[in-house]
């Protein structure tokens, strides 16, 4: 029966996806708790002192980035896109690594099911999966710039 065979095949990809998702999710959440602990208990010094953060969080994101750059970071441009990777030695920006793991997990999961879909010659789903990866990579790339409020 065609329906049964599809269900079995689908289940195979779902299991591949689920396994990667589970491992990545534990890794991301674990890292997030550890990096936040290192930051909040002052084990790794932060770029913006803990006591100062509350002065800035009521401003919109654009003003916030300008203000923390002016007062603490002193970089050529406010920190957007992937620029945070240059500040990983700072406790607050180290948390971004864990967030990037969580946000990047879906891309990895999609990539892992492509070989299985190709093997089954499931053209429609292979194409949709590749396009989805492209969409997520575009979102993650930082190329898409938003004008401020």
């Amino acid at each position: 029966m065609p329906e049964e065979s599809v269900v079995v095949n689908t289940h195979h990809e779902q299991v591949i996806y689920a396994n990667i998702l589970e491992k990545g999710m534990y890794l991301g959440l674990g890292c997030l708790i550890v990096t936040f602990g290192l930051y909040v208990f002052g084990v790794i010094p932060s770029a913006i002192p803990l006591a100062e953060v509350s002065k800035y969080w009521s401003q919109d994101a654009h003003s916030y980035l300008e203000a923390i750059n002016r007062d603490f970071l002193h970089l050529d441009h406010p920190i957007t896109g992937w620029a945070w990777t240059t500040l990983l030695r700072k406790g607050d920006f180290l948390n971004f690594l864990s967030i990037a793991i969580l946000a990047g997990l879906t891309i990895l999961c999609y990539l892992t099911i492509i070989p299985s879909l190709l093997k089954k010659k499931d053209t429609a789903y292979t194409l949709m999966t590749i396009v989805e990866v492209a969409v997520l990579v575009l979102a993650a790339s930082g190329i898409l710039v938003v004008g401020g409020h």
Partner: protein, 332 residues
């Protein structure tokens, strides 16, 4: 004698449960009542925080406690955490809406990532159904988040208020169908082979399902994805009715696939917010841990009974938060 003991035990258990529900209700009610106090005290506390560096931790701790309660209420009310998170936190905490939406998306994303593996393994989330829907929703979520970050905050706040009040109306009106009647799968879903089988846990019955009205359903996901990105609300409140009532997927498949879908839709929107600097770890991490812990506690309470009144409380909370968002947006 044995029956009498059993009866007494049941009565005690019910009484404990009622008390627990009542306490939960009181906590939520306090949350609602004290929120305006929190809001009016915001400036004072922020000023105090600015001068006394030792009190910086107050807001993250309050945030953690509030999101913990929110996590419990969300599970008992049968809704996603982010739909409560964004309107309540943006309405009553001193954080700018940009950071609340960024955190809201990460809260929804983490919840979906955590639930995803078991939903996929148990066939309650269907990858073949999710892939086309997610493609449309995640692409629209990018546009939604870019527009949401570009237009003035008060406009977003007004739209958020209207959307939240719309969700309340949807909660009132939308019916659910355990196993919708789908006489014939449509051409698109047949071509994509979107159908499946799952075992109904309560009866052990094997359920074969298929869907219909796929083109219309996919078109609606353009709007859902856009709104998810614009407001950082997650989108379970809209996913489930469309998958279940419009496209005819069984309720359990709709709920499971919807939860899994958030892990894809919210990923694209979360990256836009992340790249635009709308993520402050001091807001994101306490919220995320609070909501997740709250959800675990909520699931444990949920196993014992289905407290319908929590749903009414959620409706009340959302109405209040929606009106507060409108009030903030209109500057009244």
């Amino acid at each position: 004698m044995f029956d009498q003991d059993k009866l007494i035990h049941t009565k005690i258990r019910n009484s404990i449960f009622r008390r627990l529900c009542l306490q939960l209700g009181m906590i939520t009610l306090s949350l609602v009542l004290f929120c305006p106090v929190i809001a009016t005290a915001t400036e004072t506390v922020t000023a105090t925080t600015a001068t006394a560096s030792s009190t910086w931790w107050i807001w993250p701790v309050i945030l953690f406690v509030v999101t913990l309660v929110m996590g419990i209420v969300a599970v008992l009310g049968g809704i996603g955490g982010a739909v409560l998170y964004v309107p309540i936190i943006s309405g009553f905490f001193p954080f700018h809406l940009d950071f609340v939406r960024g955190a809201g998306l990460l809260v929804a994303l983490s919840g979906a990532l955590a639930a995803g593996p078991s939903l996929l393994r148990s066939d309650l989330a269907n990858l073949r159904l999710a892939i086309p829907v997610a493609l449309i929703a995640s692409a629209s979520a990018i546009f939604g988040s870019m527009i949401g970050l570009a237009v003035p905050t008060n406009i977003v706040q007004i739209c958020l208020g209207i959307t939240v009040l719309g969700i309340v109306a949807l909660m009132f009106m939308a019916k659910k169908s355990e196993l919708p009647d789908v006489p014939k799968a449509d051409a698109l879903s047949s071509a994509l082979r979107i159908y499946g089988v799952y075992t109904e846990g309560s009866s052990g019955q094997t359920v074969n399902w298929k869907i219909h009205r796929t083109p219309v359903g996919l078109a609606i996901f353009i709007i859902i994805g856009f709104m998810a990105g614009m407001f950082g609300l997650g989108a379970g409140w809209a996913n489930v009715p469309v998958l279940n009532l419009l496209m005819g997927a069984p309720l359990k498949i709709s709920v499971g696939t919807s939860k899994f879908l958030l892990s894809i839709t919210d990923t694209s929107a979360a990256w836009i917010y992340f790249n635009q600097g709308c993520v402050i770890p001091m807001i994101v991490v306490p919220s995320l841990i609070g909501i997740m812990l709250g959800s675990f506690i909520g699931v444990k309470i949920l196993k014992k009974a289905k407290p319908a009144f929590i749903r009414w409380m959620v409706i009340g909370l959302l109405t209040f938060a929606g009106l507060k968002a409108l009030q903030k947006g209109l500057g009244i």
